[in-house]
């Protein structure tokens, strides 16, 4: 049988974090890497459990029995700071009164290399610690690259969504966005007013002065509608010269009537495109969510539509509320 000194020399190379413990639970020899963790406090001669706290098994009373159990596994931690944790494997040497406990950092190796400035030379040549450290760094770098791609993709997605909900000519919301907002208001049982606004004489501007003039008129009209509404109201262009305005939380007929009145009078002001006058006006029909027992998007849009046509029949440039009681479905 090998002398313990020889054994120690062998273990220095094979597993540089070993500890030899005698029957009295005192530390004999210690591997160079393990001793490097406490350079000013030689471990040899001290009680094993004075240096290490036993985490698993929990009870220190089991320790003597463990020392004679080949293959027993331990979880340990330094009593003093930094409280590095270790995995330990017990192998008793029969008849020698000595037990080898081989320690390893396990996952705590990431902190240990930093805390103790360890180098490759501190690990046995077959230890996977260096490969683990390499992988952690390589994977973090790769993850960082993926993360920055994800962030850019998320930005692009938001921009695309914004675009998908925007009418590119006027910058107003489009029909999709309007449907979405309307659906949301209904599902949250919010009260609101929905105005359907139609530009009168728009077709004649387009025919007479061309599409550029038509586009200009639409853009000016959009600007007016944004000016006359609050920032959390919705203004959407839902067709060629048709707009829908949604006023969240507003069902006061007097206020709505005055908003509609302002919109009409602003839109009726003469606009000039390339020196030519483009005279338009607007007709407006309004329906309130409170006019329905269980409002549905389709029904409210249809109601505002009916009110709009009532306004048109009334000679344009005016505003009508939907009237649920009247057979002709119009009211003043």
């Amino acid at each position: 049988m090998m002398a313990t000194e020889e054994l120690g020399t062998l273990l220095d190379t094979l597993c540089p974090m070993f500890v030899l413990v005698d029957d009295a639970e005192r530390v004999g020899q210690v591997g160079p890497t393990l001793q490097k963790l406490r350079p000013d406090h030689p471990m040899a001669g001290r009680r094993f459990l004075d240096i290490f706290e036993l985490l698993r098994p929990r009870s220190a009373t089991e320790f003597p029995a463990l020392l004679s159990t080949s293959g027993a596994r331990l979880r340990l931690r330094f009593h003093d700071s930094p409280q590095t944790t270790f995995k330990g494997l017990v192998v008793p040497l029969p008849g020698q009164g000595v037990t080898v406990i081989n320690l390893s950092f396990g996952i705590s190796v990431l902190d240990a290399v930093r805390d103790y400035a360890l180098t490759s030379a501190d690990f046995s040549g077959t230890d996977l610690a260096i490969e683990l450290l390499y992988l952690v760094e390589a994977k973090s770098a790769a993850m960082e690259a993926s993360r920055s791609l994800n962030l850019r993709l998320q930005g692009a997605m938001l921009a695309a969504e914004e675009q998908a909900y925007t009418d590119t000519l006027t910058g107003l919301k489009n029909r999709r966005a309007m449907d979405h907002i309307l659906g949301h208001l209904i599902s949250t049982k919010s009260s609101f007013a929905l105005m359907h606004l139609d530009l009168d004489f728009f077709k004649s501007v387009n025919d007479r002065l061309g599409h550029a003039a038509g586009d200009y008129v639409l853009q000016q009209a959009a600007k007016i509608m944004l000016q006359e509404t609050r920032s959390d109201d919705t203004v959407a262009r839902v067709g060629g010269d048709e707009f829908v305005l949604i006023f969240k939380g507003m069902t006061d007929r007097r206020k709505l009537n005055s908003i509609a009145g302002r919109l009409i009078s602003q839109l009726c002001l003469p606009m000039k495109f390339d020196g030519s006058a483009c005279g338009i006006s607007a007709s407006v029909g309004t329906a309130l969510s409170t006019q329905f027992e269980s409002p549905k998007a389709q029904d409210i849009l249809h109601a505002a539509d009916l009110a709009l046509y009532a306004a048109k029949r009334n000679g344009r440039s005016c505003h009508r509320f939907y009237c649920e009681m009247s057979d002709t479905r119009q009211s003043g």
Binding site: D115, L133, R152
Partner: protein
Amino acid sequence: MHGLINRAIQSFVCATYGRQCWLHATQAAELDFNEFEAMLIYDAEISNRLLDVLCTELKRRKPEFLEDLGTYLVSHPNMEDLRRLLRFGGVTYVEFLHSLDDLSDQVRLAVSDLTLPNLELREQSPAEYLLYCFPGLPGYSSVMTGILRAMADDYGALVILSNEGRQNEADIISITLVESAFAEGRQFELGARKS
């Protein structure tokens, strides 16, 4: 070609010749974008076209341009992460040279769809080595030459590198180690990772 490779070229050109030069090259090569994404795969033809344009515009021979790229990958502060990964290869330059046999596997372990050509180190004597760069990525041996040169500086070793031509499709780089501890070299601490 993997986005990481394209991204390396982009980073090298921007850091060395300026962003304007890069933007100009992407236009001249008729790319319809000017930023490569590190984690996407691109058609190899795009990268080749871009390299041709860059070498023409900068009036550089392609092997020299690629060798400078290799040097950049190790020595520029932008590339500290990569330098560290390479330094995991060994404690000395010679250990690092031996670790090159595993480089393509190590790279695949980190980024599973990044396939680099195999490398094989043959030791002629303790001071003379041949590195065989097997095919798979045109110009790889030029980039490796730059990397080997910059890593020698990093370890503080003095080496002479030369291109020994091609044998059975493998490009051969000869490495002569004049002195393994010629200069101080740069620091490498295992635990210096960003947290």
